[in-house]
Subunit: 340 residues, 2 copies
C-alpha cells in the first residue's frame, strides 16, 4: 500500500494548509480571494433561449465562447450569426445519449428543415484545430524540463498516481499540469482545459469535456461554419479533440440539453421536426437588456492549484480512499454568477 | 510531429490487417467471431420497469450485475431484494446533472417517502471495495514485468500516447491494459473495466464509467445495503472508485434515467414525491416470462484487443487526427442482444 502512505503525506499537507474544517474542492473555490476570480465579458457569452418545456418552465443555456488563440474563425462566425439573430426559429434536432445534443438549422430541407442561407461572410474556415499557447512557451527548454519531470515522476516515484504538478520552472506560477490519456500533457489556459503535445512549436488544443460546445461538420474537416453546434452530454469524447473545433462551454443550463429526449432517427436526429426543441433566440450577452455576469476562478491562481489537488485527493467525510489522481475533464474550472 | 509518425505506423498496421473498408470500433465488433461473444445469464440481469413517460412510452432499464470477485455481498442483497419484489412501488427520487440518477425507497419518511423494511438478511456488508483478480495474477513477477514495461514505454518511447499494450508475458492472451489517471493501470476482466494497483497482493476494483451502477450510502462506508442504487449519467466520476461498491451497469435503457428532470431539492433530490419517476417493478431476468438475452464481446478475445486499439486510433473518414490513446471509460465493452 505504498501509494496510501504517499497520499497520507499529501493529505497531511493539505490539512496543515486549512485546519479544522474538511477541505473540499467547493470549499477551496468558495474561500478564494475576490482577486482570484476573473470576470467573463458579456460579449463572450452566448445566451440561448429554448421554448419553455411541457410544464411551462423557461430553458436558458449560457455558453462561454472560446478565447484566442483557439478556434477564432469559428467563434467569429458564431458572433456574426448571433448578431444576425440567425438561430432564432431554428431548433435542437439531434440528441444522442452519452454523446451530444446538436442544434442549428439542420442540413436537409427534405427532412422538414427550413433552408436558411448563411449571413454574408460566414464560410467554413480552414480546419486549424491547434494553436500556440502563450502560457506554455514552446522552444524548448520548458518542454524539455516538463518532459523530464513527467518521465522521472512516472518512472521512479509512485507509478500511476495521476501525476500532477504545480511547480514547473519557467511556467506561469502555480500552473496545474498533468498526465493525460489522449495528449502528451494537459494544462489550463485562461480558464480552459488544454491538451498539449511535446513539440518545439508548442502545439496545443482545447479539449472535449462534458458541456463543451463544438462545431458540427461533415466528413471533410473544412465543412463546419459554426451554424450547427453541439454540446457534449456524456463522458468526454476526447477522440474528437483536434478533429473538430471546440468553441465554447455551457456554464449554465446544460441540463436543458442533457435531459432532452434521445433521437430515434439516423445518427440520433429526431425523426420529425415536431420532436425538435425550438430555439426562440440566441444572443450575445451584450445585446441583452440584462447582461449576464459570470466569473471563473483564475487557473493561474493559488486557489485553483489547491482546487486541483483537492479534486485528485478527496479527503472529506465521504471519501475513505483518495484517488491520488484525476483526469482533466473531472477538474471542472469553477464558474459562478458574478457579484454585482 | 514525432507522434504522428508513430501513429502512421500503427495505422498502416491496422490497414494491413483489414484492407479496403475503413476499420471502426463498430466494424471490428460486428466482424467478431460468434465464439468471441459471451452470453450473459438472465439471472445476472436486473430488469427495471419505470412507469411510462408522459407520452405513454415504456421505460425499461436492464442492468447487468457485477460478477465475482467484486461487490458480491451487495449483489447478493440486490438479488434478495429483487426476488422479494422489494423495489416495486419505489421510485427514482434523485437526479443530478453530470452525476447520478438514484432510486430505491429513500431514507426519509418525513419527505413523503414510504418507510419500507428491508427483507430478512439484507444488511450493510463490510466496506470491501477491492478484491484479487484471477485474470491478473499477483505475486509478483507479472506485476513487476508490467511495471517495467509501462515505465519503459512512458519514459523512452513516445511520451503521452496513452500507453496501451495487448502483449504482456504471463497475462491472459491479448489482455488489453493501459495507463490511467486514477489507478496504477487498468485492464478488463470478464467484460468489465477494472482498476489495478501495483501490489504484491494484486488489489483490483471495478470502476465508475457512464451507466455504471453503484450502491448509495451515507457518510460511513459500511452503510449501503444495495436497496438504494444510482446510475452514472455524466462524465465518469472515478473519484468514487474504491469508495463505493460498483454493482453493475445499464446495458439497455440508460437514456430513461439520463433524460429525467434534474432534482431541485438538496443534493438533487426531487422536492416532492410527485416529481419522482415511479418504479413499477424490478425483476431478475430469470423470473420473467420472456427472459432477456444479451452477450458481450469477450475482453480476452483478439477482436476486443483490436477494438481497443481502434478506439485509441480512430481512422475512419471523419477522423483526421487519431488520438493515440484512450481512457478506460471511453472503451465501452460491446454488449448486444443475443441471437436466438
Amino acid at each position: 500500500m505504498k501509494r496510501l502512505a504517499f497520499l497520507a503525506i499529501l493529505l497531511s499537507q493539505a490539512a496543515t494548509a486549512q485546519e479544522a474544517e474538511p477541505v473540499t474542492p467547493a470549499s477551496i473555490a468558495e474561500a478564494a480571494a475576490p482577486e482570484e476570480w476573473v470576470a467573463i465579458p458579456p460579449e463572450d457569452l452566448l445566451v440561448m433561449d429554448l421554448a419553455p418545456d411541457a410544464a411551462g418552465r423557461a430553458r436558458q443555456v449560457i455558453i462561454q465562447l472560446m478565447p484566442a488563440p483557439f478556434s477564432q474563425p469559428w467563434v467569429q462566425n458564431i458572433r456574426t450569426l448571433a448578431r444576425a439573430h440567425w438561430w432564432d426559429g431554428t431548433s435542437v434536432y439531434r440528441v444522442v445519449d452519452n454523446w451530444v445534443a446538436q442544434w442549428g438549422a439542420g442540413e436537409d430541407a427534405d427532412a422538414g428543415f427550413v433552408p436558411r442561407p448563411l449571413p454574408e461572410g460566414v464560410v467554413s474556415p480552414v480546419a486549424a484545430y491547434e494553436a500556440m499557447l502563450a502560457s506554455v512557451p514552446p522552444q524548448t527548454e520548458q518542454y524539455e524540463a516538463l518532459s523530464a519531470l513527467v518521465n522521472e515522476q512516472l518512472a521512479n516515484a509512485e507509478p500511476g498516481t495521476g501525476f500532477i504538478t504545480n511547480q514547473i520552472d519557467g511556467f506561469p506560477t502555480e500552473q496545474s499540469t498533468f498526465w493525460d490519456s489522449f495528449a502528451d500533457f494537459v494544462t489550463f489556459d485562461q480558464g480552459w482545459p488544454i491538451g498539449n503535445m511535446y513539440d518545439p512549436r508548442g502545439f496545443a488544443w482545447p479539449v472535449h469535456c462534458y458541456a463543451h460546445v463544438g462545431v458540427a461538420r461533415d466528413l471533410a474537416p473544412d465543412t463546419g461554419t459554426g451554424a450547427e453546434l453541439y454540446a457534449v452530454i456524456g463522458h468526454a469524447p476526447r477522440q474528437l479533440d483536434r478533429n473538430i473545433a471546440v468553441v465554447g462551454r455551457a456554464i449554465s443550463g446544460i441540463e436543458h440539453l442533457s435531459t432532452l429526449p434521445r433521437g430515434t432517427g439516423e445518427a440520433g436526429v429526431y425523426e420529425t421536426r415536431a420532436e425538435d426543441a425550438p430555439i426562440v433566440s440566441v444572443r450575445l450577452g451584450d445585446e441583452l437588456p440584462e447582461q449576464p455576469r459570470f466569473e471563473y476562478l483564475a487557473t493561474t491562481s493559488d486557489s485553483f492549484a489547491r482546487y486541483v489537488e483537492s479534486r485528485a485527493n478527496r479527503d472529506d467525510a465521504f471519501y475513505t480512499v483518495p484517488a491520488g489522481g484525476v483526469d482533466v475533464c473531472n477538474v471542472q474550472v469553477p464558474v459562478r454568477p458574478a457579484a454585482l
